[in-house]
Symmetry: C2
């Protein structure tokens, strides 16, 4: 059983959203993105089979989809998307997002370079 | 892209924790459990390969493990467990938990009968 707290392990940065690789296994990849108000994860997609979930832990913003579609995003929101479907997020307040991707793979690896593993084994 | 809000789609019950099936696909199963203070998901495990994540959306409690082990649980906590590893949760305050299981399968189906699909397609 491995354990971490998103509030303790990841913070915010003025330059761009801050990414924390929470978990990566043959089963799924879990990534936490923290956005300062105004920052965004641009709409993107990957041409592979699979799905991802986007969970808003804290904050408000908008989910982004294809053709400039937006869905209001707030704490407790869960979005399920095909990995091949365009998806993104724009923060209106400081916002914490948790993304779970299956299959893991290289999805998300291209989004920002300064990720870090925050896992502690217990 | 499918969207729901955990605060809007699931509430609490005096009798036992309240379960909401958020998503079930060949990729993963996502279940939201809401606990009133004092309610618990007893320690259990399933003898299959795979992993699950436990994410505390709101509230405080304890993650439960084998041999009566406990880990304090609070908002923003993420626990990764093998499905075969004993795991559970006890709430000290009203608590919202989001569980993602891969592979999906019948895991979680035995925990409570009154689940409901809360998905809305957009």
């Amino acid at each position: 059983m491995k354990h971490l707290n998103l509030y303790e392990e990841n913070d915010f940065a003025e330059k761009a959203f801050k990414k924390l690789l929470v978990h990566d296994s043959p089963y799924f990849k879990i990534i936490n993105f923290n956005f300062k108000a105004g920052q965004e994860l641009p709409v993107h997609n990957h041409d592979i089979e699979g799905q991802l979930s986007l969970v808003i832990i804290e904050g408000e913003g908008e989910f982004l989809g294809k053709d400039n579609a937006t869905i209001p995003a707030k704490a407790g929101d869960v979005v399920i998307s095909e990995i091949s479907e365009p998806h993104g997020l724009r923060a209106k307040t400081d916002l914490r997002l948790l993304v779970t991707i299956d299959p893991q793979s290289t999805v998300g690896a291209d989004l920002q370079e300064d990720s870090a593993s925050g896992l502690t084994a217990e």
